[in-house]
């Protein structure tokens, strides 16, 4: 996912398929709402600063780490790439640790 997006941030000649992919992904919940008539469940009962800080860290992290859940966690793991296996083990661990610290040591935000 971030590989497709980052190709738009440093524009390359092959932007059309990237934009088409992203628009297709964004259209999915709209189509589901139109088909089922029910809203898509989305609960983000968090202070805005955690979403901003989370976004900044994710943006920095995926740029240096070279991938996210879909890139390393699914595609790279499926190719048995050593880089992706290491990256996935690390980000699953730090996500778990962050949730533990926030919810159980700090009492949640």
């Amino acid at each position: 996912m971030t590989g497709i997006l980052s190709g738009l941030i440093s524009p390359k000649a092959d932007w059309a398929w990237r934009v088409a992919f992203l628009l297709g992904a964004i259209a999915a919940p709209i189509g589901i709402v139109l088909l089922t008539g029910a809203p898509v469940p989305l609960q983000a009962d968090l202070p805005a600063w955690t979403i901003v800080a989370g976004g900044l860290l994710v943006g920095l992290g995926v740029s240096y780490g070279g991938g996210c859940t879909s890139g390393h966690g699914v595609c790279g793991m499926a190719r048995l790439s050593p880089r992706s296996i290491v990256a996935t083990a690390i980000f699953l661990s730090t996500t778990f640790a962050t949730v533990f610290v926030v919810r159980h040591l700090l009492g949640g935000f």
Binding site: L5, L23, G24, I26, P41, V58, S63, G66, A78, T98
Partner: protein, 144 residues
């Protein structure tokens, strides 16, 4: 043209999978990681089934000489386990744990109409731009 239409179709399939499975819903994602609290293990099945389908799919698809709409396959070739990979992945996990959003969850969630994915994706693009700028500066310093 067909290439662009096929990319949109693939994005639609990806986004539908994310939305239906709950990967785009921060509360569900954070509960998946909260093993000692309100643990919701269902997203493990989502990751596992995505992995199985991709594992089998790659082995079938990569038997072809090339993709349908592209002259050749583009697969990552790097092997080194370096500091940017390790540190970057660690930072990504902290961000995912703070917000409950990963990129593949938040981008389809933009279509839900809720404000949180918009705030997240804007901040994430900000982080990517900062990383690009830092990399550019370090390349310039290396050139001097």
């Amino acid at each position: 043209m067909l290439r662009t239409v096929s990319a949109a179709g693939i994005g639609l399939s990806f986004g539908a999978g994310i939305v239906v499975s709950g990967m785009g819903n921060p509360a569900k994602v954070l509960n998946f990681f909260d093993i000692f609290g309100s643990w919701d293990p269902s997203l493990m099945l989502v990751m596992l089934s995505a992995l199985v389908v991709t594992f089998v799919g790659y082995r079938l698809v990569l038997r072809r000489p090339a993709p349908v709409f592209e002259p050749k396959f583009h697969l990552p070739t790097r092997r080194e386990l370096d500091l940017p990979l390790i540190g970057g992945s660690a930072l990504f996990g902290i961000g995912w744990g703070l917000s409950g959003f990963c990129p593949g969850g938040a981008i389809p969630a933009l279509g839900s109409g809720a404000p949180a994915p918009v705030i997240f994706v804007a901040s994430m693009i900000g982080g990517m731009l900062v990383a690009n700028a830092l990399r550019y500066l370090s390349l310039q310093r290396a050139a001097v």
